[in-house]
Point group: C2
Chain length 232, copies 2
DNA sequence: TTTTATTGTGTAAAACTTACACATCGTAAC
DNA sequence: GTTACGATGTGTAAGTTTTACACAATAAAA
């Protein structure tokens, strides 16, 4: 594999790659993982981790493999963002890419740093450097789809730690939607939905009645709520 | 082009195709355009019109070209459904496809019949024959995305004629969402939104005060409404 | 010690959604 | 010709959801 001119076809074929837009939340801001490219084209530019599709894997499998190889991360949430095929998106030649968005929990983002020689960093979604290829276009689309997912799925809980507070959750929403939410209405809405279960805290843990209450995502309640929605 | 072994690459590449899921509305039901395949694999099976990506076009351009070539149709609405890459989806070898959904107005569906030798037919979305490749999977995803589009965009008016009645529109909604809507609430909702403009009808045209009123989509009002939504 | 920021909680109005009834007219059945 | 049915237009009341907004308690900062 990889020798010159091994693969011959009757008709033209594009090269096909996958790219990963990995989101995480540091307690304050929504971040995206970028790697500094070690090779041309766009050497030393920041880009999404990704690579070429192999013969024995689906696009989604390729995305997971590349993510693991380049960052050491695994994820439960992986969703297609779209296919990108502008003629000049890759100076090496005609390449189309299928982008995937994934999310990792805050306490699982550590692996990235100690991985390999490549420079990898988390960037605030609103303070991104210039990106390689058409990755800025991909980034916009990925954020757009993340918002849709926030509205229609419980993806928010895949971005939070298993145990979290409502103020944390609200900060995440604020960064994802780039707008403020009324704190009281935000809390009321989620508490009324019943999908949050308070975590029992010992008396020492709860320093005061006004320190944030810790919650856990109640999957069963969410499934129940979802059922009710579909029936209607 | 097309000679044996003309295209040689250092690395493996998949074949890349595009497929079109074309929706239209006949006044009663939501239909999808299928063509009967003339060649193997899946000879004589029904499938979505589509074909291979060419070197000088984006995926979207390829979708429009194939649609025109195979059915004579053009469309304003073309949206990506997704990329499909199961290993065994094409018995000829590894092929990935990017599916697009498009819609055409009722009075523009005639072109299909008189086009070329290939058999092409509109099928009710809920009475589809067995499809070639993984096109059933694509079909499900396309309908799902059409529903999302109905909720978030004015795509419904691209499926209706320029002039339409509310009962017509409601039948379309019923077929798209596979559920009944309360006629009174349905009408109230759209009339209150202000995006429908009644079409002036001469006295002869309006046979009675209880024949359906004809409307036209008010793009300006819709744009205005959309602005208001975004601001909030 | 005082100030500021953060958190928890509750209430009233507005907007939207849902459920439901009746009158008119054309068409088909009788 | 008459009657029954189905399709259309319109309106009202209840329920639900969303929005707007105020105050008390505590920890951290000044």
């Amino acid at each position: 594999m990889g020798e010159k001119g091994v693969y011959t076809y009757d008709y033209w074929r594009p090269a096909v790659t996958v790219d990963n837009v990995v989101f995480s939340f540091d307690g304050t801001h929504l971040n995206v993982l970028l790697i500094k490219r070690g090779n041309e084209p766009f050497k030393d530019c920041w880009a999404f981790p990704g690579g070429f599709l192999d013969e024995d894997e689906t696009l989604e499998e390729a995305a997971r493999r590349e993510l693991k190889e380049e960052t050491g991360l695994t994820t439960k949430y992986l969703n297609e963002v779209g296919a990108f095929s502008d003629l000049d998106r890759d100076p090496r030649g005609r390449t189309i890419t299928v982008a995937f968005a994934s999310v990792v929990q805050p306490n699982k983002t550590a692996a990235v740093a100690g991985d390999d020689a490549k420079d990898a960093r988390w960037f605030n979604i609103h303070e991104m450097p210039k990106l390689a290829f058409d990755h800025e276009k991909i980034c916009r689309m990925a954020l757009w789809k993340l918002r849709i997912a926030f509205i229609n799925t419980p993806v928010v809980f895949a971005l939070l730690n298993d145990i979290f507070t409502l103020p944390e959750m609200q900060r995440l929403y604020t960064d994802v939607f780039s707008r403020e939410f009324d704190r009281r209405n935000f809390q009321k809405k989620f508490l009324a939905s019943g999908i949050l279960t308070p975590v029992a805290q010992s008396d020492e843990e709860k320093k005061s009645p006004h320190s944030p209450i810790q919650y856990r995502f109640n999957e069963a309640s969410y499934a129940h709520l979802r059922e009710k929605m579909l029936r209607c």
